[in-house]
Structure formats: structure tokens, C-alpha cells
Symmetry: C2
Subunit: 375 residues, 2 copies
């Protein structure tokens, strides 16, 4: 059933989305500021996927670029709706619904802001059920939805509309344009019918974010363990508990790339590899989880999600893992978002430690070492 | 009066344009192949600027990128018209005339090919009276004509339409997109009315190219000196005669950048600095000519223009200079295309050795040395 999202839910949404965002998707505080501002004049209607008419015209609205930069460049509401306006003009037919491309701090609240500013309903769904760093990495790509025409705009007023031969080319051209435009842009694209959205999206994402975000806050207030509460709702498991002892991070080619080492009791070290999002978790020469499953870092005490750009030396953190939407484990999906795509010579490891179907080689830590040497 | 361009004139046009292209604008042979193919079905009507109706809708059509790459990636006619088609659809009103953004081997013949393929008349004019490396560097920029909306397309079928806040931003975003799309794209933009075209363009460019191109060929056949014939028609002078002893060249950020040294009788060395086009000519610590005036290199015997990517060790060449359209010497124009813009701490030197108005500092060779060290 349809419901409404208002300012009271924004904080839980941003917290839950930051968790599902697996380290990416931008700072949840920035995201909630933006949504709160947009919802000041009233709530936004949210529809379930099942309520979407077949002839709906759905667009993804998102921030593209390094979230590291976004923290210092909060977009205005005008900026958020500019690519939707440009794309609507280009397509010559009105947009009827807004959807999230991914769940993640900023990219779950920017669509809320866009829907509020445009007076359009939002869909309780997203394109991934998590966050990923590149534009083509959404489930609709797997059912043939084209990213283009895609509009991108910057805070200065520059706009580009791309029409490309496939979704990877949309990513390539939009990425270099985004870097040139100041490392962060607003985008709108993946024009879908209601039927395509129902087939391609992950349903219930926003309500799930709010539920998990609320459960973490409730546990905190009730003096129970927020991480345990989150893990139960995620059907996941806790991988590690420790202190951040090393973070290497660089903003290159429009991404926040890097590696973090977390030391646990007894000196065991967990290594996380990330590119906007956490991609590989490994400890003692053993792969604990990889993309596409979800690897999440939270503050040890409060359960508050920590983004990859928020990782700091000395932080007490706990690392969680949870299953990705099962569609991410088909061979075509693994070719797009599996460890191999990101340069790790590893098969995809599910969060329970088993190797995913579509695996291309045997996973060893030397795969990581080789990928690191290659960088 | 209007006239027609046919295959018989293509060779002269390409030769003359390569001369006015001051080393840039791409290989004239490639350019003439393309135009010859396009004119196979009949000639293209060419109008004088004075014949252009006020309500005409004029577009520049050009190749963007490193001409070094273009040599290996000859565009098809479909590619040449794709950005015009995309821009026409975006603007929602028909294009009535095609114009050259610059004169230069490929960029004087691509518009001929586009006009032929689209069945539109061409204007006997261009945006510079020479060639320059960046998109905003056309005289219409000085009278407020916007480059955007600008469409660019590659041979794979990717298209982008840019709407930017100024013409320098069109250049910046189109340049990074062009590099990503394979270092060479076709573009269409600078939508102008007939009145704007008359105020902003350099008239008579194409006929001037054909006249000079023909004169060089005629002198060659008549066993007189082709270089003397060209210099007379250009109102220019011969700066130097010698042998290429050193060429440094790199294709970086979408440009062919470099330096050539030419040794004359008695060991005097002339140094040419270029970025697609020749920008500074200097010998014995004296600046002989700089952008915006025209610096041209031709084969010593035949008078055939040599592009910057065609410069080779051991070539016998002669270096000519000629005046730019006088509008290039106003302060706003010098800020856009003077030596300072390209990193040389020099005022603009006219081809006769005098310093241009709008000069910002005293020219010394140390200016070149400083710019080279900074690279």
C-alpha cells in the first residue's frame, strides 16, 4: 500500500540507507539535510512497485561522483531537479514517478528531495538493493533498460544529455564529464515504464531502510546492542569487531578508492578493499565476503553506519555482511559487479563464505595481492 | 554571388585550407577524400555572407580532437551529419545553412561533406580565418554567440548534447568527452541567425582557400616559386627557410602539442611551438610572429602545406607568416587566443615583428623558456 514519507522518517531512512549503501552513497547527514529541506512543505507520496501503472514513466535521480567531494558541495533543490527537467524536455513526455538508483546515504534522499520539489510520487524501490560505484551497475541493465538518454548537471548550470550505445558508455562519458564538472553532478536517466520498473527494481527498499534505521536507533535507546538488531533484520552476520589501524584512500578518476585495515582481539587483521563501496573483506588469508554481497561497517557501540570516506584511524568498528538481491548472483550480473570487474582475481564469495555461481576462478588472497600490485 | 563547389575544386580547397590552418585542422588529404566522396552525387551551393537571409539558421560542423588521431580514423558521411541531426532534433527547428568553424585541412572539407549529405547550402565564410585548437576560439564568441547547445558524436554511435554556461565550459566538457570517445568526434553547434553569422564570421574564406591552393599548384606547374605566389596572395612574408632538425610531439589531453626546430643556412635555428596549430615562431632570441597571426610551414620546393603532425626530421621547409583577421587583435580576443592563453609570457607579435595592441608584457625568449619549464 502507498504511504507517505515526511521529515520524521528522514533520519531513519538516511541511517538505514547508509548501512545498505555498504560504505558508499555519500554522507547520510548531508543526505538527510537535503531531504528535510525538501519535505518542509509537506510529505511525499510513496508507492509500492505493485501499485505502479504499466504506462508510468519512471526515472532514476541520483548524485554521480566521489562522495568525498559531495560532502563539501551540498546540492540545492534546483540542482537536484535540473537533470529531470532537461531529460523531460529532451524526451518530450512527462515524468510520472521518481525512483532511487541505489540505496546509500545521499542517493536515497536525493530522490526524496527531487520528488518533493517536482510534486511527483516516489517508488518504494531502488535499482540495486545496495550501492555500487558505476552507473551501469543496476538490475534494470540486466533486463535491457538503457541508461540513456541520461542528463547530468552541475551546480554552475552546465547540463549534458547523453545518448550512448550501451550503459557502460553512458558511465564512461558521464564519468569524465562529472570529473571535469567538479567531481560531483546530479543525474537523471534510465527512463522506464511501470512494467519495466516492476521487473527490474528491488522492491521495498525505502521501507526496509527506515525499518533498519529505526531498529538501530531503538536498540540504542533501549540499551540493547544495535548491531545485533541490524544483523537480524538484514539476515546477515557479523564478520569482525576491531579498531581501524590503517586507511589508504585516494580520490581518483571520480571515485573514492582505497583500503582499510581493522585489527581485532588477538591481533587478527581484517582488510577491506573499496571503490566508493566496500568490495572485498578478507582476514587471515581467507575471503569472508565480496561484492555483490553487502559488506557494511558500523561504529562498534552505536551501530551508526560508517561510509568509506568516514573511516578514520582508531575508530572502533564492527563489520557486517548480508546477502545481495539474488539476481546479482547470475553470471551476467557477476560479470558486471563481481570481484573480477574491479580487478580482483577472485570468484564472488557469498556472505556465508560459500563461493557464488558464475565464479571464474578459485579465490585466494594472492588475488588481492595481484590486484594491488597492478594498481 | 553564390557559386558551387564540386570535386574539381576540392584539392585546391584542401591545400589552401591546410595553409590557412597554420599546421592544424587535420590532414588535407583525409579532408579531400571525405569531400570528394560527399560531392560524388553533385556540387554543393555556396553563398556569400551578404546573401544570407536574416532568419537563416546556421550551424558550425567540425571535427574535434587531435588531428593526429583523425588520420587513422576517417569519419563516414553518416558520422559527419549525426551531430547536425541530433542538434536539429534538440533545437526543434531546421538548420538552413552549414558553415566552417575554422579553415584547416579537415575542418574546411567536413562542412562541405555535411552540406552535401544534408542537401544544404554552405556559407563562404568561417569562424576564425585560420585554425585554433579550442572550441570557444571563434570570432562569434566575441559577439556573444553561444557554442551550446552543442552536439558531439563518435563513430561508435554515442552522442552528447551540451548546454553550458559559457563557451569555455563547452570546450572543457566536450574535450574530456572527446578524449574518452576515442580522441576524435564530430561536432555541431554555435547555432546562429543569418544576422549573427554576417556579424561574426570571416567572409570569403572558402574562395580564398581555393584561390591560394590553386596559385600554389599553378606556380608549381609553371615552374615558378609556389611559396612566393602564396606569400603575395596572403599579404604575408617568408620568415625562414631551412631543414627540420628536431620535432618533439605528444598527443596529450586531446591535443597534438609540441615543438619543432628548423635549421637554416649559417646555423640559425627557428623554433616553432604548437598545440595543434603553430603558436610562436622565434629565432636568435627574437620573436618573429605569434598567435593570433598566422604561422605556416610549407615544403620548400612544392609549397605544399605541412601540418604539425606531418613535420618530420630532415624535411626542407619554409616558414611563412600572414596577418590574422584584425578582430583577433582586440584585447578580448588576445585574452582568448594570445600567447598568454597558451602559457607563453609574451605579448602578441604581429607577423611584421611589431607588438600587437592588448599586449600584456614585453616579449623575450625567456617567456618561452619559462613556459617550457612549466610543462
Amino acid at each position: 500500500m502507498g504511504w507517505q514519507i515526511d521529515t520524521a522518517q528522514v533520519e531513519d531512512l538516511a541511517r538505514g540507507a547508509a548501512l545498505f549503501g555498504t560504505g558508499g552513497g555519500g554522507d547520510p547527514y548531508i543526505g538527510s539535510l537535503l531531504a528535510r529541506q525538501a519535505l518542509a512543505d509537506g510529505p511525499v507520496a510513496v508507492l509500492d512497485l505493485s501499485e505502479l501503472p504499466d504506462d508510468a514513466h519512471v526515472l532514476f535521480v541520483a548524485m554521480m561522483g566521489a562522495p568525498t567531494v559531495m560532502v563539501e558541495k551540498l546540492p540545492s533543490l534546483d540542482e537536484v531537479i535540473e537533470p529531470v527537467r532537461a531529460l523531460g524536455a529532451h524526451l518530450g513526455r512527462p515524468v510520472t514517478h521518481i525512483a532511487c538508483a541505489e540505496v546509500g546515504g545521499v542517493n536515497s534522499t536525493i530522490p526524496v528531495a527531487a520528488a518533493a520539489a517536482l510534486g511527483l510520487p516516489l517508488i518504494d524501490a531502488d535499482g540495486m538493493g545496495r550501492a555500487f560505484p558505476e552507473l551501469q551497475m543496476v538490475l534494470p541493465t540486466l533486463i535491457g533498460v538503457t541508461a540513456s538518454p541520461l542528463a547530468l548537471s552541475d551546480e554552475k548550470g552546465n547540463v549534458a544529455v547523453l545518448q550512448t550505445i550501451d550503459n557502460s558508455w553512458t558511465e564512461r562519458i558521464a564519468r569524465v564529464a562529472t570529473v571535469e564538472m567538479g567531481c560531483s553532478t546530479m543525474i537523471a536517466g534510465f527512463s522506464m515504464t511501470g512494467a519495466q520498473a516492476r521487473a527490474g527494481l528491488v522492491g521495498g527498499s525505502l521501507s526496509r531502510c527506515i525499518t533498519v534505521g529505526r531498529a538501530i536507533a531503538d536498540a540504542r535507546e533501549g540499551k540493547t546492542d544495535p548491531v545485533t538488531a541490524a544483523v537480524a533484520l538484514l539476515d546477515g552476520r557479523e564478520l569482525f569487531d576491531g579498531k581501524v589501524v590503517d586507511v589508504q584512500r585516494a580520490t581518483t578518476t571520480g571515485f573514492a578508492r582505497g583500503r582499510a585495515r581493522i585489527e581485532g582481539e588477538g591481533g587478527t587483521v581484517l582488510t577491506l578493499q573499496f571503490q566508493n563501496e566496500h568490495l572485498v573483506a578478507e582476514a587471515d588469508g581467507r575471503i569472508l565476503a565480496t561484492t555483490p554481497d553487502l559488506i557494511m561497517v558500523v561504529e562498534g557501540e552505536t551501530g551508526e553506519p560508517v561510509t568509506t570516506e568516514g573511516l578514520r584511524y582508531g575508530q572502533r568498528v564492527r563489520v557486517l555482511a548480508a546477502p545481495a538481491d539474488e539476481r546479482w548472483h547470475c553470471p551476467e550480473a557477476l560479470a558486471m559487479v563481481g570481484p573480477g570487474y574491479f580487478g580482483y582475481d577472485l570468484p564472488a564469495h557469498r556472505f556465508d563464505g560459500t563461493v557464488s555461481t558464475g565464479a571464474v576462478s578459485t579465490g585466494t588472497v594472492s588475488g588481492i595481492a595481484a590486484a594491488e600490485e597492478a594498481k
